[in-house]
């Protein structure tokens, strides 16, 4: 099949070749050119060093010195090449593969890090480990969000599930001295909040966004109340869980950079690593997943082949809540070591953005969530490195990226069609 490249036919109802979509290539080209201007024209020549390991590590890699401007040229040209390749794809009317966008995105980030770190050193390992830690809750929340929207329910209450999970994990771990129980309790909390959302949205047909918002308010108030009334004065008794132990995987954990980032983590992080491919597999390769996606696209059609729409939706959303609850646990026993009021701090909303940025796909949503985690991690590091751009403004870039991406993506039909719409049967 070769697509005709030219001219409309003049026959009755003739078929024209589909118009080419230049959106993605143009964006990639703009990013490539911008990064060349920023990191090369306004580039810095003070050398920077990428450090890969700590002096005490088993395997020690020497730091790699680099000139930020030279790096900027190399990566900028690479980005341009990727953009050019994407134009070829668009010309042939094929969707631009995601890895091209990834190349441009990562090249931009590396150039940015080198630019900020000019004249100092860049601790790659700590930058990445903190990215993973800061992303865990967002990734897990986003997975719950992906499942919810795929089955047709917008779970805007991820924020509430994270907060609820964080609270119960801390309290249960402190009172029972069992992290396993704490994880289970957090997951059940997440599922329970999801179930309330699903119940109100499906049975009572309340607008899903409205229930979600109200649930966030409710869970915030309840955790605040118990924190003030009970936890604050009795923290040793109720709110001193500590964190899950780090589980280093022998051998692998000693690999520079990759080891600490991937193989010397807490249980919550390992679960995250496993859940991303697991959720993808479940959604795209199993009977359950086929039905879930059918329900999110065309529930009436699913009903006519004997799938119980509302029951399936309810249970799917509830199960997804387990994952969000686990994300909550990753905030307390997986990271902070205690519950703090309103500690989810908007991570649930960011997870929601990751769902959309990741086009309702578990892999891409996880990538988007990692980008948000990286932004936070980068801001902390850049603040310490004395960056020229104020950290307040760095903080807003992921949100800006999300808006731009949503605006660019929105025109295309990728969202599950029936997402957010109740199914009413006579």
């Amino acid at each position: 099949m070769t697509a005709p490249a030219t001219a409309p036919s003049s026959s009755l109802g003739g078929q024209l070749a589909a118009p080419r979509s230049w959106r993605v290539p143009i964006v990639l080209a703009v990013v490539a050119v911008l990064s060349l201007i920023w990191f090369v024209v306004f580039g810095k020549d003070d050398p920077t060093r990428f450090t890969w390991s700590d002096p005490g590590d088993v395997l020690y890699l020497d730091p790699t010195p680099a000139n930020p401007r030279v790096l900027g040229i190399v990566l900028g040209v690479l980005s341009l090449a990727a953009a050019a390749a994407s134009f070829r794809w668009a010309w042939r009317r094929r969707p631009v593969p995601v890895w091209l966008s990834l190349i441009v995105g990562i090249a931009f980030l590396v150039s940015l890090v080198a630019w900020v770190g000019a004249g100092g050193q860049i601790t790659v390992e700590s930058l990445l480990t903190s990215t993973v830690s800061l992303s865990t809750a967002i990734v897990l929340g986003a997975l719950a969000g992906v499942i919810g929207e795929r089955v047709g329910v917008v779970n805007i209450a991820i924020e509430a599930q994270l907060l609820g999970g964080a609270f119960t994990a801390a309290v249960v771990a402190t009172t029972t001295h069992s992290y396993e129980l704490a994880l289970v309790a957090a997951m059940i909390t997440g599922a329970a909040i999801s179930a309330v959302l699903a119940w109100f949205a499906i049975t009572f047909l309340v607008d899903q966004v409205v229930v979600g918002v109200v649930l966030i308010a409710l869970v915030t108030a309840i955790t605040n109340f118990f924190y003030q009334q009970v936890l604050a004065d009795n923290s040793a008794q109720f709110n001193d869980p500590g964190t899950l132990p780090r589980l280093a995987i022998p051998g692998l954990a000693d690999i520079p950079v990759i080891g600490p980032v991937l193989f010397d983590q807490r249980l919550t992080v390992y679960l995250m690593f496993l859940l991303v491919p697991f959720v993808w597999f479940m959604l795209y390769k199993t009977r359950w997943g086929l039905r879930v996606r059918a329900l999110g696209e065309h529930p009436l059609a699913a009903d006519t082949v004997g799938i119980k729409v509302n029951r399936s939706r309810f249970w799917t959303v509830t199960l997804a809540g387990l994952i969000a609850g686990l994300g909550g646990a990753s905030l307390t026993i997986g990271y902070a070591g205690a519950f703090v009021q309103e500690m989810s701090a908007g991570k649930g909303f960011i997870a929601l953005a990751a769902v959309i940025l990741g086009r309702w796909n578990p892999w891409y949503a996880a990538l988007a969530a990692l980008l948000f985690g990286f932004a936070t991690s980068f801001r902390i590091w850049a603040g310490g490195a004395g960056a020229a751009i104020p950290s307040d403004l760095i903080a807003m870039t992921p949100y800006l990226v999300t808006i731009i991406a949503v605006a660019l993506v929105a025109g295309r039909v990728v969202a599950p069609k029936a997402s957010g719409k109740p199914y009413i049967k006579s």
Binding site: L12, G13, K285, W288, R293, E297, H298, V305, K425
Partner: protein, 499 residues
């Protein structure tokens, strides 16, 4: 399989959609269920398919009473249904759509796609369908999508197949192919219930005909019954849709469309170089099978679609490229084809709906707000003039019957000073009494010297109203013929036969 329905009654609130319906479909038979829009055919089939629960009556398969609490149970019992609006998931492939709900799986619930592909190929080969199991359904033409629906039903060993208005979206050729398929299915022992309101198709393919009207069975007929007989049974009286009208007193060429072309997404030519004109005091009716560009034509004229080329002039003023607001202000009265979706706001009161398209400036909108008194006066007058049955002008228009809702739309449009009346499907889903009334109003508009453009897929309506008939086929006007052109000739034109 033999299917029998006994005394099925289904009520929605105070509305009785099915009233004690009896129906027997013998094995291997094509049984047509004939009735007007809203006669209760689809409700009956949804009861059969377990989507609705009957309030009274029972369903028997091979003389065994059955009760279906959901479509799953109906399917398990051997009933398959091809819905009028396809129950396919556009982003899924053919194989995924066919397997949904009874997926072949390997261990652990993992989908067995090769098995599903094999199933699709097997069934489509049996009936001479050429289906690619891996094609995405949304990329397929409508006729092929319908085959996917049929394969879907057959893949569950359906032995009673219900086809709900299957030809509504098909071209004449596709319709012929479908009928061939139906005969082949019946030949292999499948019982077929063919729901339609098209007399000619019934006569062409059915073994037995049951006619229902207003939720009741009014009788059975053999396919040899004459069209007139069937129509009388269906409508409840002689179909005399001929409106009394005098010969037209033609004015100037007021509305002129020239070289109108519109491309859709993916470069499809939706409108192909249309040129026609309507004179004052004349009704030009656009006939054609649904989906041949009529909807798009209306949308382009009124400004809902802007990316068309060519020209549309009303009294010399160019309308193409102008906003809907401008086009309406220029004196175009617009009756959209789907009143619920585009013509009315169901939650608004009748009075609010009367000012729907006049919220900018006088006579209703002023700097200090809406002049409720002026608005209500107009609404009261509309209720009176058009005999709209309502509890009052403050009642939500969504509570009115279809015919009364349509009268609200027509009353609103005729209330303005018109330079052109554009009415799409002016009597769709409207009871017979209201049809006559609406037709008379349209003729009045014509007699007042206003050009009228009617777009209708109902040939009877076209022939009753038109002074000239333009036939659309695949986005083009294939011919413009006088109103007294024989029905057969019009049918040929609608099928794209020019010579």
């Amino acid at each position: 399989m033999k299917l029998e329905l006994r005394g099925i009654t289904k009520r929605f609130g105070s509305l009785v959609a099915n009233d004690g319906i009896d129906l027997v479909v013998e094995s291997g038979q094509i049984h047509a269920l004939l009735g007007e829009n809203g006669a209760g055919k689809s409700t009956l089939m949804n009861v059969l398919f377990g989507l609705y629960q009957p309030d009274e009556g029972e369903i028997l398969l091979d003389d065994v009473p059955r009760r279906f609490r959901g479509p799953g149970e109906a399917m398990a019992a051997g009933i398959g249904m091809v819905h009028q609006h396809f129950m396919l998931i556009p982003v899924f492939t053919v194989a995924e759509n066919v397997m949904l709900g009874h997926e072949p799986t390997r261990a652990g619930g993992v989908l067995d796609l090769p098995a599903a592909r094999r199933l699709v190929r097997e069934i489509s080969e049996r009936f001479g369908f050429d289906l690619d199991p891996d094609a995405r359904v949304e990329d397929l033409p409508v006729g092929v999508q319908q085959r996917v629906e049929i394969v879907k039903a057959l893949s569950r060993d359906a032995r009673v197949l219900v086809l709900d208005e299957p030809t509504a979206v098909l071209t004449p050729q596709e319709t012929d192919e479908l009928m061939e398929t139906m005969r082949r299915l019946a030949g292999s022992g499948t019982s077929i219930v063919f729901i339609t309101h098209k007399l000619r198709e019934v006569k062409a393919v059915a073994d037995t005909i049951t006619v229902i009207r207003l939720g009741r069975v009014v009788g059975e007929a053999p396919p040899t019954a004459s069209t007139a007989e069937l129509a009388t049974m269906m409508v409840g009286r002689d179909v005399e849709l001929t409106v009394h009208k005098d010969p037209p007193r033609l004015g100037a060429e007021a509305f002129v469309v020239d070289g109108l072309t519109l491309f859709g997404a993916g470069g499809v030519r939706l409108l192909d170089d249309l040129s026609f004109s309507v004179r004052g005091g004349e009704v030009l009716a656009v006939a054609g099978v649904q989906g041949n560009g009529q909807t798009e034509l209306a949308e382009v004229i009124v400004g809902l679609r802007s990316k068309a080329s060519g020209s549309i002039r009303l009294d010399g003023e160019e309308l193409l490229g102008r906003s809907v607001r401008h086009v309406l202000a220029a004196g175009v009265g617009f009756v959209p084809e789907d009143r619920k979706a585009d013509g009315l706001v169901a939650e608004f009161s009748l009075a609010e709906n009367i000012m729907l398209d006049r919220s900018y400036g006088p006579p209703f909108a002023h700097w200090y707000g809406i002049d409720f008194r002026a608005r209500d006066a107009v609404a009261e007058r509309a209720v009176e003039d058009f005999d709209i049955r309502t509890q009052g002008i403050g009642a939500p228009v969504g509570r009115l019957s279809g015919g009364n809702q349509q009268k609200v739309v027509i009353a609103r449009e005729l209330e303005r000073d018109l330079k052109l009346l554009l009415a799409s499907q002016p009597t769709r889903g409207v009871d017979v009494g209201s049809i006559e009334f609406i037709h008379e109003r349209i003729v009045e508009v014509r007699d007042s010297g206003v050009p009228v453009l009617i777009i209708s897929t109902e040939l009877d309506e076209v022939m009753a109203l038109a002074d000239r008939i333009a036939v659309m086929y695949r986005g083009a006007i294939i011919d413009i013929v006088p109103a007294d052109t024989p029905r057969e000739r019009l049918g040929q034109l609608m099928a794209g036969v020019v010579a």
